[in-house]
Amino acid sequence: MLYFTVSRRKENLKDIRELISQETRQAGFSENTAYLCLSAVDEMLANIFDHGLTETEESKVNIAVIFYGEEVAVSFRYRGRPFQPDQAKCEKIDLPKVIAEKHGLGLKIILTTMDRVDFHYENGENTITLYKKREAAADPTDDPSILNRLLQSPPEMVLVTPPPATDPAAGNSAAAERYLAALPLETAAAKRLLAHYLKVQEWLSTERPEEELLDAILQEISHCFGCGMAALLIADAKNKNFIIQSARCIPDEVGTRLSFRHTVSGWTYLHQQLITVPAIEEDERYLAVREERYYRGVFLSTPLTLAGQSLGVLNLCAARERPPFSDAELDSLTLWLKPLLLALRHYQNSREKQRSILDVIGVLIGALDAKDAYTAGHSERVMQYSMLIANRIGLCLEEKEAIQYASLLHDIGKIGIKESILNKGGTLSTYESLLMKNHPVIGMNILRSVGALAKVGDLIKHHHEHWDGSGYPEGRRGEQIPIGSRIIMIADSFEAMTSDRPYHKAMDKHKAVLEVQKGAGRQFDPRLVTIFMEVLDEILQRDLLVQKTELKKAF
């Protein structure tokens, strides 16, 4: 798919014709059919210029060229007067009128040469789509380039915004709380347990980081069992040790590793057996323990197992301010652990997912770097700068994550651009620069197929939009541009100015900073430029440090 915006200048008609001609022929259309397509497109665009667009400063037309197998669809989207031609009237040429007014033939051409034309008008926005099938099968020896394959991905004309996320859990939990409040007093234990489930459910539905969620659940369990000390250990079976994921009362231990050997937790894990003792320091088994010597008094250690998979160990401890665990408490323990196990699984899955996403990103960047040597390292620097800005402003975790991935992958669409264009030293021809300007949309298309990165695609699509509307591909302005894209725009421009490219030598850092400041309100979001200035010292320091490092989370 090609997607671009043209402003109302008749000189643009020629470029669009050239583009349609190249693209249709490349897709296997015959010269004749390719000519009919470029002719219909030219007439449509000229008609929109002359009659559709109203005299506003936003006299622009968005054009999408999409190939669906054997068919090409060219869509025009613009704000202005609707086009509702009376098809019957266009059937016969009114010769005297055509001769006198040089007008009226265009629609005839469009309707006669195209297979189908859709006109759609809604809320001041017009979408006109021309469809044409190619007549003969394409030559199978044609080398289908990456670009071609990308062009055949499903269309996305109108960005469908999903309905605002409704939180079913929130509605339910209010009802459940009412239900709980109405329960008789003797079910107090059940009540506490249910309250815990509801809380966890609520946490899960919010966007809190998983680490915090685990902390909160541990806190809640230790509180309900009257234990001042608690630790959640995640097992690393390969290395035969634990990592202390979360802890109460022993905060310094969080993040450290504990061997399976010579530890109480290790014993619990390896035997998959619950231990509970009224005074751990008096237990003879404890004498053999070399680490974990901070536990005192009433102690409980339980393996955490979900669907036959051992995830780790939970330890609870109370320095004798509570009686030993009762049978009833031990019975209810499994129920208490359920939410923790689910959250733990959730955490591990998302860690794994994140790791594999970062792996995928690493591979994609490697592929781009191999093709375009000049951008090697560029992606990572742009990511570093973007995150310094993003971490300064109040963004939620999900947004920061999307910005990190998008800043790493912002140029990935260049995979679909010919090397001869990417590494060209001189200025690009109009057609070449149209192709080049398509890289944000190609990038979006690449990422759309990766479910976890779909949102990232949107940020990539708009990373060349300018604050004043003069960018591409849609010519969006101001806050219509996603904030992530606005951040990447600044980071990308600064990075590009301060490094060597085929078409320019690196600029002096301070001169580049001045350029960024000059662009405030024009190319860049002025408020983000202020933030950029605030983090400038860090950016300049970072710049010296950034070298090939393993990709990791930066928020």
Binding site: K10, E11, L13, K14, R17, E31, N32, A34, Y35, L36, L38, S39, D42, E43, A46, F49, D50, I93, L95, V98, I99, E101, K102, H103, L105, G106, K108, I109, T112, T113
Partner: protein, 121 residues
């Protein structure tokens, strides 16, 4: 000088041959119309437009050709089209335009037609 299109007229026996080179679209068709009519010889006249090197012609350009045909017809002349590029001819046929113009393959054909009995002046 008109952007994108070049016209060049030459005289061949009793016809005027005009080479049209470049493209004709909404940006330059008005200029083309004036220039073309300026090149027309005094009536009655036969004009052959050589479209050999015409890359593109828009609907308004076609309308100019129709207007030219109309004007010359009124004065017992005719516009003929020579060497129409195949893809433009394909468009002509799709539109049913062949009924308005005679399409010629080469200059000799044009000369023969105009010197044929009944057509000669």
């Amino acid at each position: 000088m008109i952007d994108g299109v070049k016209l060049n007229a030459r005289r061949m026996e009793n016809i005027t041959l005009i080479d049209v080179q470049g493209f004709l679209d909404n940006s330059n068709v008005e200029g083309f119309e004036h220039r073309l009519f300026d090149l027309f010889p005094p009536a009655p006249a036969n004009v052959v437009l050589n479209l050999d090197r015409l890359e593109y012609i828009c609907s308004a350009g076609l309308a100019v050709l129709l207007a030219a045909q109309d004007q010359l017809h009124k004065n017992r002349g005719e516009v003929m089209l020579l060497n129409v590029p195949p893809q433009i001819e394909h468009l002509f046929r799709t539109l049913g335009f062949q009924e308005f113009f005679r399409l010629l393959r080469n200059e000799q054909e044009a000369l023969r037609l105009f010197s044929a009995p009944g057509r000669a002046e």
